[in-house]
């Protein structure tokens, strides 16, 4: 059983001119469903295609065209719900959200307001060893993405690219359980990690495949606890929503800025106006997009072109049975089975490719040693060249081979690093390289004794000093290692030096 004990982190406190303030944050994450085809059409979802080349008649809202649900997208949403330990709604339905915009050809977005496919779930967001925030998920619903309006190609005209129109999104809505900018970023990171484990969203924020709307409000210390006890939002401050951010850094900056903006208003005796805001990363500030009064009336109503979506428990069970091991479970297993530290386990489970690599290396070997080598040597080396694990020139078998040579005492740690560099740059079987290049550690005590004897004989003054001060024995060890080209087994050298000097 998974046993993750943790304590909740302290909320971020911002000192205003007069008072201390706490932050309350809820997020809506728009995650593009990994699927070859769109939510209601067979058009491709490939990123970066020629403008308006991935557009079916229904995506362009041609007269008389009808949406047909893509079953795979539904499966992906269910898989995501299961991965977030959420309730799966066997009955869900699609609604139309009506508004006019050129990149929304139908004049409405098909979404799920009244009956989302996924209900309440949770995400455990680690903030450090043993410290984590449990963020509750309110719901996940499926909806269509809009197209892209391009305003900077022509001085008089705007252009519309419908390639993205109708691509399936999951909107993952959290409760206001996030208490600071760092937590917000950690929440997105964790959610992204889970989605990638599940294979339901590639998490590519640069391409806009994962975007965040952040609701921020501030309150005085103690108010949030009252909200928690009653679930009465009246205890919390008025929130502003910052729309459409696709960078962890911007999310944090925007929250920080927005909280300080609200605090300044409140401490000035003003009140925060509920509104939608945009973050301008160049200026580092948020600015009003539209107020509550200007807010669209979306005139949601059930989409009459689609029947309610009814799925069977058996189908959900099959998807549940096919779920991969998720980050929390994997991390706990790595800590339990391999004796890894919380930190090492977190690093190695950050994504499935890293974890799989580590597991292949650690199989039948010392887990901690394997973790050290994967994290410090391999990841460090890869990072130098901006490569990721899939591009590693060293296979798990090769790295395992290096570790085996260390464990057997054939090579020292220092030699192992040289060997790693050789394998990394030139390739080859580590054992053969060690053999061929004479890198094997000398464990023959006779040879070491001879070397020690030579050095003692040549340095009588040092011998006297060492006898008076045993700490100086290290000098002899160093000389022996030098004389043997680093191949002598350091432990054996130590023992022999101590014995010969009579320490």
């Amino acid at each position: 059983m998974l046993d993750l004990t943790y304590t909740a982190p302290a909320p971020k406190v911002i000192a205003g001119a007069k008072d201390d303030w706490e932050l309350v944050i809820g997020m809506e994450i728009h995650a593009q469903v990994s699927s070859n085809a769109k939510l209601f059409s067979g058009a491709s979802t490939t990123f970066g295609a020629e403008p308006n080349s991935n557009v079916a008649f229904v995506d362009a809202a041609m007269p008389g065209m009808l949406p047909v649900i893509n079953e795979y997208c539904v499966e992906q949403a269910v898989r995501t719900g299961l991965g977030l330990k959420a309730e799966i709604n066997l009955f869900s339905a699609f609604d139309r959200k009506n508004y006019f915009y050129p990149d929304l050809p139908q004049g409405y977005q098909i979404s799920q307001l009244y009956h989302p496919i996924v209900g309440e779930g949770e995400v455990l967001v680690e903030m450090g060893p043993g410290v984590a925030r449990l963020v509750r998920i309110e719901r996940i619903h499926l909806e269509q993405d809009a197209g892209k309006s391009i305003h900077d190609m022509d001085p008089n005209m705007s252009f519309v690219d419908l390639n993205r129109t109708g691509v399936a999104l999951m909107e993952i809505v959290s409760r206001p359980d996030i208490r600071g900018p760092e937590e917000a970023a950690a929440y997105v990171t964790k959610l992204r990690q889970i989605l990638r484990y599940l294979g339901t969203c590639d998490g590519n924020m640069q391409n806009g495949n994962l975007r965040a709307d952040v609701n921020v409000s501030v309150c005085r210390p103690g108010a949030y606890e009252k909200y928690q006890a009653t679930q009465d939002f009246g205890h919390l401050g008025t929130r502003c929503e910052i729309k459409n951010m696709n960078s962890m850094r911007f999310i944090q900056q925007a929250i920080e800025y927005e909280a300080r903006r609200q605090i300044a208003i409140l401490e000035d005796g003003g009140s925060v106006v509920q509104e939608t805001r945009l973050y301008d990363p160049d200026k580092g500030e948020t600015r009003s997009m539209r107020s509550k009064e200007e807010a669209h009336d979306y005139r949601y109503f059930p989409c009459p072109d689609l029947l309610p979506l009814e799925i069977e428990q058996g189908w959900v069970d099959d998807i549940a049975a096919s779920l991969p091991e998720l980050p929390d479970e994997k991390k706990a297993r790595f800590m339990g089975d391999f004796g890894l530290t919380d930190y090492d386990a977190s690093v190695l489970t950050a994504d499935t490719a890293n974890a799989a690599y580590f597991e292949a290396v650690a199989e039948g070997r010392d887990g901690k040693l394997a973790a050290n080598w994967v994290i410090n040597e391999l990841f460090g080396r890869l990072k130098k060249e901006d490569h990721d694990i899939s591009e590693s020139p060293v296979s798990p078998a090769q790295l395992g081979g290096i570790i085996d040579l260390i464990t057997k005492g054939d090579i020292s740690g220092k030699i192992a690093k040289d060997l790693f560099e050789i394998v990394y740059t030139e390739g080859g079987d580590p054992a053969q390289i060690v053999e061929a290049r004479g890198m094997k550690q000398v464990t023959d005590t006779g040879a070491i004794e001879a070397a020690v004897d030579d050095i003692i004989a040549a340095n009588p003054a040092q011998v006297e000093k060492a006898k008076a001060n045993p700490k100086l024995a290290g000098w002899f060890v160093g000389q022996v290692m030098k004389a043997t080209g680093g191949k002598a087994n350091p432990k054996a050298v130590n023992d022999i030096v101590s014995a010969k000097l009579g320490l």
Partner: protein, 493 residues
């Protein structure tokens, strides 16, 4: 030659199979009638080349012995159906010049069965209207006439009704959201069938109100309706609301034997101010069915009086959303913009120019009833009413009723322009007997049953159990046989 366009589908089919006549001959006869009938305003886009190509291909199929029922039959196609490469503009200026790159499922199935398209037919703009007077093409005119007074063929499928009644074609496609097949059929003395919701694919048919729209045949006889429905209907994976159910053999169901069938007469359809001759016709219809061996029972459909208001909330609500796509961005009409105009001006000007008054009215009603603060009072309440109306019918059928007999319309055809100054609700009252059927998703058929004192046709409506069009058609067949309606309008066009 001109006699050939008067054939029924069944007659033409049998004659072509026997080799007595070819599809090309019938098609040429129809094209000649179409060209001579511009005064009716029925055909708004003529497609003679397509028609003759299809007729020649049909003749080859018939010769080869591969001839489905509709093979070689010249039809008129309502402008609401998207026909590949042929103007399809829902009688609206906003879709002026729009030629789809795709073929609607209905026309694709009909053409696949060998049917011939003579052209596109007039209708109310976006199927919103009961008189064909909201069309951007101008009026379609009823071939029936009193003295010099031009009458409406009804709507929205006014062009279809006019073309079939005037023998310009053998049959036509129609669509019915609140009565748009059955009311014009009644006004012109033809048969009009609205199938069960989900029986006929909506794919490629320009949407008015998606949860109510259903295409169906408009024909000279009940048998023709059965033959044509067979070719139009069936499951279509491209329409999620299309039913995956086996299709009965509709024509084979026409035995005329309705002995022991229970026909319900709903007392709530007796409306105040309804002309006595409608009441009389209704009574006569019931007696004809009784004489044919059916049992006539009084039934109650208590929520009937709420149907029209509920319909005029739900249909505009869906329409307001369905018509949002006509924004001038991708196809159809785009207004000329002034310097400094932005996207909002483009929407406003384009839609103001492109949509007629009735469409604008319904878009505004629909937008209103879906607005925050009004949604529950209007849209949600209308949905509840809709569920109650459906329950009324369910209960009647559960009590053993096989079909329900009502008048098709509260009057015979009225004069064009007569309602121009009237409250729009007066026009909406035309649908009072038909909207319940759309709200409940049931099949309904209008059968010509007699002439009123002015010599204008009147229709009776039969409402059937869901998915039992075969049974409904058979009852209609019995009624048609008993009524023996053979009158034709005197040719004046």
């Amino acid at each position: 030659m001109s006699e050939l366009s008067k054939l029924t589908i069944a007659e033409a089919r049998d004659a072509m199979r026997k080799g007595d006549v070819t599809s090309v001959e019938i098609t040429e006869a129809c094209l000649a009638e179409v060209n001579a009938a511009d005064a009716l305003g029925a055909f708004v886009h003529k497609t003679p080349e397509i028609a003759l190509d299809q007729a020649r291909a049909a003749d080859a199929r018939i010769k080869a012995g591969d001839a489905p029922g509709m093979c070689g039959i010249p039809l008129g196609i309502k402008d609401l159906f998207c026909t590949k490469g042929v103007d399809s503009q829902a009688a609206s200026n906003i879709l002026k010049g729009f030629k789809p790159e795709y073929e609607s499922t209905v026309t694709s199935q009909l053409f696949g069965a060998g049917a011939v398209m003579l052209g596109k037919l007039n209708m109310d703009e976006f199927a919103m209207g009961s008189s064909n007077e909201t069309s951007a093409y101008g009026n379609a005119v009823n071939p029936w006439k009193i003295d010099d007074r031009q009458l409406t063929p009804g709507g929205s499928s006014g062009g279809s009704a006019s073309a079939v009644a005037a023998d310009l074609c053998l049959a036509a496609t129609g669509t019915d959201t609140g009565g748009s097949i059955r009311q014009p059929a009644a006004f012109t003395g033809i048969v009009g069938l609205k199938p069960t919701y989900g029986r006929v694919s909506r794919w490629g048919t320009i949407a008015f109100a998606s949860s109510l729209d259903q295409a169906g045949p408009m024909t000279k006889t009940v048998r023709d309706a059965a033959i044509m429905l067979q070719a139009m209907s069936g499951h279509d994976p491209k329409d999620s609301t299309s039913a995956d159910l086996p299709l009965p053999d509709f024509e084979a169901a026409l035995t005329g034997d309705i002995k022991g069938k229970k026909i319900g007469i709903p007392r709530e359809y007796r409306m105040d101010g309804m002309p006595e001759e409608i009441e009389t016709l209704w009574h006569e219809g019931a007696e004809m069915l009784r004489a044919a061996g059916a049992e006539i029972v009084d039934i109650s459909l208590p929520h009937t009086k709420y149907a029209l208001p509920a319909y005029y909330v739900i249909a505009p609500a869906e329409a307001s959303s369905n018509l949002a796509r006509y924004d001038g961005v991708r196809y159809g009409h785009r207004a000329k913009l002034a310097a400094g105009d932005g996207i909002v001006q483009m929407y406003e000007k384009t839609r103001a120019e492109g949509f007629g008054h009735e469409v604008q009215r319904r878009v505004m009603i629909g937008t209103y009833v879906l607005s925050a603060g009004f949604y529950d009072a209007y849209y949600n309440r209308a949905r509840k009413v809709r569920a109650l109306i459906k329950r009324d019918f369910d209960q009647a059928f559960a009590a053993g009723v096989d079909a329900i007999l009502t008048p098709a319309t509260p009057s015979s055809a009225f004069g064009l322009g007569e309602m121009a100054e009237a409250d729009p609700v007066q026009m909406y009252l035309n649908d009072v007997f038909t909207v319940t059927v759309n709200l409940a998703g049931l099949p309904g058929i209008s059968v010509p049953a007699g002439l009123d004192s002015q010599g204008l046709p009147l229709g009776l409506q039969l409402i059937g159990r869901p998915w039992a069009e075969d049974d409904l058609l058979n009852t209609a067949y019995a009624l048609e046989s008993a009524a023996g309606f053979v009158s034709k309008p005197a040719k004046w066009w």
